[in-house]
């Protein structure tokens, strides 16, 4: 019987056969050859201009290539043409969401080579501002990540709460995004009057909003379905790729340079804990960052209470000349391990600065991670890795 012939009255297809009919259609008629899909250079999920070329078999990624460098500004080369105090202005712009935290390892490298140490009060203020940068950076992530799975509300909350933190950073440093507040040997200024009380209030709001994120996003079944068991980074592989920070802690690696690196700033003086999650998936990365936001808010409250008095600048010469030597200083930045390998030949500027940024290594695992993922998950996986393009492109 052909399709054109009228069906005999009473002819019915057994419903249990429908499934097989559908399968036959797909196998015969739809060619599932590979397709190359170009995501970017501009895509809302990439927080900048990252280009992703994926080869698809149906809905699944077979292979992918990450193309970066659209915003390469050549900071390593430029650093060789500037004096030490001028370089802090440049490196503010590497990871622009946590500019203050970028300055710290570089300034430490210069200080260590010079044998200068910032006074305790400066160390405490640096710690407070680093943690505030971390909160500001993570709040954006906590909101954005919701956006990538289709939830608009968390993004508004994230931006609103980030504003409290940025206001505190601005009140102390004069800059919302690029404070350029560190000086070799200390800080530019002391904290303004009334800052401590206002920041305490802001931290209380942050702690409250972390609870909101917990209810709104983490407990949301749609969010869980979109992120659980997706984009799993095995701990050992992640480490060998150089994945660091919250991304690695979300794979169960209990490693935080604030605790496990060379001691720096005032982290030894306060009570805090390192959060890890055993799963290593997109959900774990979100969860760890949420806990770390809360932990950072608690740290800021403790630091403000324990803030010592005293000077904020050590005695340094008016013209900074750094003695010959090499220093490697790495710190736990919001996005992961950031480090500077500074080679000095005794001049007013460095001979060579190798900048180790967190996002470059964090994203270098993406081609491995995206293999076998579905197209919609590509976006959530990239968003959960949380990178800043300036931090990749340098």
């Amino acid at each position: 019987m052909t399709a054109t012939e009228p069906r005999a009255p009473g002819f019915e297809v057994d419903p249990s056969l429908y499934r097989h009919l559908a399968d036959a259609q797909v196998n015969v008629e739809i060619d599932t050859g590979d397709m190359v899909l170009n995501l970017g250079p501009q895509h809302p999920a990439t927080h900048g201009t990252l280009r992703l070329v994926v080869r698809l078999d149906g809905e699944r990624v077979v292979a992918s290539d990450v193309i970066i460098g659209y915003m390469h500004r050549g900071y390593e080369k430029l650093s060789e043409f500037r004096t030490y105090p001028q370089i802090t202005t440049l490196i503010n712009r590497i990871d622009w969401l946590s500019s203050f935290a970028n300055e710290v390892p570089f300034v430490h490298a210069a200080e260590q080579l010079m044998g200068v140490e910032a006074p305790p009060r400066a160390q405490y203020i640096r710690t407070v501002l680093t943690e505030l940068s971390r909160i500001a950076t993570f709040l954006l992530f906590l909101g954005e990540m919701g956006l990538q799975v289709g939830a608009i509300t968390p993004a508004f909350y994230g931006f609103r709460d980030r504003e409290y933190v940025l206001n505190a950073i601005e009140a102390a440093t004069g800059g919302r995004f690029h404070p350029n507040f560190n000086r070799i040997g200390g800080l530019k200024d002391d904290l303004p009057w009334g800052w401590a009380a206002e920041t305490r209030e802001a931290m209380r709001k942050i702690l409250k909003s972390c609870d909101d994120f917990e209810d709104l996003v983490v407990a949301n079944p749609i969010f869980q379905q979109r992120t659980r068991s997706i984009g799993i980074i095995p701990a050992e592989l992640g480490a060998s790729y150089g994945v660091s920070g919250s991304n690695l802690r979300a794979s169960g690696v209990d490693w935080d340079l604030r605790r496990d690196g060379k001691p720096y700033l005032a982290y030894d003086a306060i009570d805090w804990k390192v959060w890890t999650h055993p799963d290593g998936d997109s959900f774990a990365r979100y969860w760890v960052r949420l806990q770390e936001t809360r932990e950072s808010a608690r740290m800021v409250l403790q630091l403000i209470d324990a803030m010592p008095s005293g000077p904020i600048m050590a005695k340094v010469p008016r013209i900074i000349k750094v003695p010959e030597g090499e220093a490697w200083v790495n710190t736990e930045n919001p996005l992961g391990e950031m480090g500077y390998y500074v080679v000095s030949k005794g001049a007013t500027g460095p001979f060579r600065v190798k900048i180790r940024t967190a996002s470059l290594s964090n994203v270098s695992i993406a081609p491995w991670l995206l293999r076998g993922a579905y197209v919609p998950d590509v976006i959530t996986i990239l968003a959960s890795l949380y990178f800043i393009l300036g931090d990749i492109d340098k």
Partner: protein, 228 residues
């Protein structure tokens, strides 16, 4: 808060902390002491220079036998001094570096070096900087990608920035720069063109600031013309 017990001047210091002595001992056993050319401690960090033909073995030993599971970075360095302003580069704003060619901690046999940093995520405060000398004519060294997959992008960056070849790298292609880019920007003889074309105010102010004493000696017209 401070560097715990690190000596102030590690440069050229022969003494090492106990942990670094122990670490060096372990590398020597794992790699064979003939593979290590020089080792020093710089600001509390152990820096080991290995023979070029053992560069990949060094990575393997670090990963499997010393427990350094984490790759921090791979980078390059060009020890040649950059041409200074009086040699015709026209740049008066860059800090003046010494003119003689010197080779940082752990030394170097020549102009080019590759250096890398590995760490352990299990043992706190343990890390190692490795250096290797490269030939000046055809700089090349073995790739680390088969040991640390994360070395891929770092080696691509070093390849394009310095022109170093990494044997065994799956695909050496441009990472940051456009694919047709010529030259190796981080080599010291590669000029920073923006500064060549128009020197920036730095160590020497090339353009008088308004109201400067030097400004008054010139006619107002010529000062205005200089801005255009």
């Amino acid at each position: 808060m401070s560097d715990d017990g690190a000596p102030d001047a590690a440069e050229g210091a022969t003494s090492m902390s106990d942990s670094n002595v122990a670490l060096l001992e372990r590398i020597s056993t794992a790699l064979g002491s003939d593979a290590i050319v020089e080792s020093v401690e710089s600001l509390g960090d152990l820096v080991v220079r290995v023979r070029a033909d053992r560069w990949r073995d060094a990575a393997q030993a670090c990963r499997t036998e010393l427990g350094f599971d984490y790759l921090s970075f791979v980078g390059g360095i060009d020890w040649q001094p950059a041409p200074s302003a009086d040699e015709g580069s026209g740049d008066t704003s860059a800090p003046v570096q010494p003119k003689e060619q010197t080779y940082g901690v752990a030394g170097s046999a020549g102009r080019f070096q590759v250096f890398a940093r590995v760490a352990s995520t299990h043992v706190p405060r343990v890390g190692l900087t490795l250096k290797v000398d490269l030939d000046e004519e055809s700089p090349a060294v073995a790739s680390w990608t088969s040991v640390y997959p994360g070395a891929d992008w770092h080696e691509r960056e070093t390849w394009e920035m310095y022109g170093f070849d990494f044997h065994g790298h799956p695909s050496l292609r441009h990472l940051y720069l456009p694919s047709g880019f010529e030259g190796h920007p981080l080599r010291k003889d590669f000029p920073l063109l923006a500064r060549e074309v128009k020197p920036w105010p730095g160590l020497v102010d090339v353009e008088g600031m308004p109201g400067d004493a030097s400004d008054e000696t010139e006619a107002p017209d010529s000062a205005g013309g200089g801005d255009a």
